[in-house]
Symmetry: C2
Subunit: 311 residues, 2 copies
C-alpha cells in the first residue's frame, strides 16, 4: 500500500483504512466505518425479482462483465418497470448492445437496428408519470444536511433507498427520483413519446439533474457499473459508437430470480439511524484526513450503501 498516494484516498468511501486505524484513534468515524457498524436489522434485502442482471460479452482477457440493476420501487415509474419485466421475460435484450458511451454523461444500450419487434403487452406510459403527485414519506432526520437546504417548497431526500426530490406543500406535493450517478433511465423520442423501457442508459458522470422530470428513471446499478463507466467513449456525435465492431454486445438481461446462484443484495435503510449518521458524516467529514467540513452535501454525493448479503 502506497502511503502518501493513498492518503488522498481517505476522502473516499466504503473502504476501511487500516493505516489510520493503526496510527490514530479518530474522534469521528468515517462514513464507511459507520456503515460497517450498522445493525443487521438496518439492512433491507432486495428481492431477486427486483434485480435486472445484464451480462456483457467478456472483455479481451475473457473476464465476465455482469451489471446488476435494482428496479425502482413504487410509487415511481411502475409503468416502465412493468414493461422492463416483460422485455426481460421475452429475452428481448439478448443480442442487443451498448451503443453509446458519452464521457461525463451516460452509457446507453438497446437494439442498434431499432427494428427489433417489441413483445406484446407493453404499456404506453403517460408523461404525467415522470412525477408522483402525492405526499411522500421521507426521513426528516436528514433534512438539515442537504445542499440546497430542504424546505417545504423544494427538497431532496431518500425514499425506500432511492434519492428523490420534490416541490410543493404537503397537500399539493409532487416528487420524483433524481438523476444521480448510476441511476438507470429510459431513452425516448420527442414528447409526447415516453419510451418503452427497451432503450436504457445509466449515468456515468456528474448528476444530470436537468433530466429529472423529463425522462423516466427505472432503477440504479448496484454492482458492476465500472463495466459500463470504463468502456471506451464513442467517437460519434453524443458518444455513439461509429462502427458496429465498437459496440459491446449484450449476451443476456434477465430478472434476478431467473439467475442461478445470484448473491443476495441488501441496502442500508434510508430511514435508519445508521443511514442518518452516515449521511451526516458525508455532509460533514470530520475523520482525520479532513480539515474543513463541507457543511452540507448534494443528494447525489450521499450514495446509498448497497452490499452483498453475508451468507
Amino acid at each position: 500500500m502506497i502511503k502518501k498516494l493513498s492518503l488522498l484516498a481517505c476522502a473516499a468511501s466504503f473502504v476501511a483504512l487500516p493505516l489510520l486505524a493503526q496510527d490514530a484513534k479518530p474522534e469521528y468515524p468515517s462514513p464507511p466505518e459507520i456503515v460497517a457498524k450498522a445493525k443487521a436489522e438496518e439492512w433491507v434485502t432486495i428481492a431477486p425479482s427486483d434485480l435486472l442482471v445484464m451480462d456483457l460479452t467478456p472483455d479481451a482477457k475473457g473476464k465476465a462483465l455482469r451489471i446488476i440493476i435494482q428496479l425502482m420501487p413504487a410509487p415511481f415509474s411502475q409503468g416502465w418497470v412493468g414493461n422492463i419485466r416483460k422485455l426481460a421475460a421475452a429475452k428481448w435484450w439478448d443480442g442487443t448492445a451498448v451503443v453509446r458511451v458519452q464521457d461525463n454523461y451516460v452509457a446507453q444500450w438497446g437494439d442498434p437496428t431499432e427494428k427489433k419487434a417489441l413483445p406484446e403487452g407493453l404499456v404506453n406510459v403517460s408523461e404525467s408519470d415522470y412525477v408522483h403527485p402525492k405526499s411522500l414519506a421521507r426521513p426528516r432526520a436528514l433534512d438539515g444536511l442537504f445542499v440546497p437546504p430542504n424546505d417545504v417548497s423544494r427538497w431532496t431526500s431518500f425514499h425506500q433507498g432511492f434519492p428523490v426530490a420534490g416541490v410543493g406543500t404537503p397537500d399539493s406535493e409532487r416528487n420524483w427520483p433524481t438523476h444521480c450517478y448510476g441511476m438507470v433511465g429510459v431513452g425516448r423520442n420527442l414528447s409526447p413519446d415516453t419510451g418503452t423501457g427497451a432503450e436504457l442508459y445509466t449515468v456515468i458522470g456528474h448528476a444530470p439533474r436537468h433530466l429529472d422530470r423529463n425522462i423516466a428513471l427505472v432503477g440504479r446499478v448496484i454492482e458492476g457499473i465500472e463495466h459500463l463507466s470504463s468502456l471506451p467513449r464513442g467517437t460519434g456525435p453524443l458518444g455513439f459508437y461509429e462502427k458496429e465492431e465498437d459496440r459491446v454486445p449484450i449476451i443476456s438481461m434477465r430478472l434476478g430470480n431467473e439467475i442461478a446462484d445470484l448473491p443476495a443484495f441488501e441496502y442500508l435503510s434510508t430511514d435508519s439511524a445508521s443511514f442518518a449518521a452516515y449521511a451526516d458524516a458525508r455532509a460533514n467529514r470530520r475523520d482525520p484526513f479532513f480539515i474543513t467540513p463541507a457543511g452540507g452535501a448534494d443528494i447525489c454525493n450521499i450514495p446509498v450503501p448497497v452490499r452483498r448479503q453475508k451468507q
Copy 2:
C-alpha cells in the same frame, strides 16, 4: 445516426443536432447552439505556458493518449502551481504512472515508489492557501441560476473561467475553487501536510465537494479526460492498481509552451453575455427534448466551454 436512441441524446451538450434542425424550429436555442453563436471576442485564449500536457503510453491499438490540463489562475493555489511548473521543467513525471482509478471518484498519478527525489526549490504551501481570503469579482448576472441559490453568506459562481464557491460577507469573504468533474488536485498526507503537487488526481465522477477547502485544486482537464476516465478501475483498496503491470506509464508531462505544434485553446469568458445565456439554458432547458425546466443548476452541471482555437 440512430434516431430513437439518439434522442435521449438531445439532453447532451456541445453537439449540434441535425435531426432536430430539420424537423423543428426550436423557440429556445440549446446550450451548444448558444455556445456556437458566441462572438469571437467572448472567447479567452489560454496561454500555452498555462497548459500542462501529459502523454500516456499509447493504448493497445497504438493510439496516442494525450491529456491537456489548464493550470489554475491567480488568486488560487499559486504555491502549488509554481511547484508544478518546476516539476514539469525538471521532467519529474517522466516515467511515473497512473496508479489509481476509483470509480465515480478520481484517477490519480505520480511516482509509485514514492522514493523519487523531488527537484530543488519546491515550496511548502500553507493550509491557509486552500482558500482565498479576499472578495472576488464574479458575474452577478448568473446569481439567480444556481442551486443552492446564491446569497451573501454562501454562493457559487465562476472566476476567470473556473467554478468557485464562497462564504462570508463582502468585507470578510473567503472563496475557493470547487471539485467539479475534470478538476485537478494535489494528493497529500495527513494535515498539516498539503502536498507538493507531485501527486495529482482528476475527478472522474460526481463532484466530491467535500474535498473543497481540504485539498488544493490546481487546474482542470480541458482535453483528453476520456483517456483517464475510461481506464480500468483498480481492484485494490481505493482503486489502486494492485500489480505494477496494471499501472499506466506516463511518457512525459510538460508545460504547453515546450510542446511543438500544440493547438491553441480558448474558453468562453464566464463574464460574457453568451456564457450567461448558456448557463441559463443549462439551468432551464427549454429546447425541444425537454418538458420541465429544472429551475436551477448545480455549479458543476454548468461546464465551462473550452475549444481548440480556429486556425
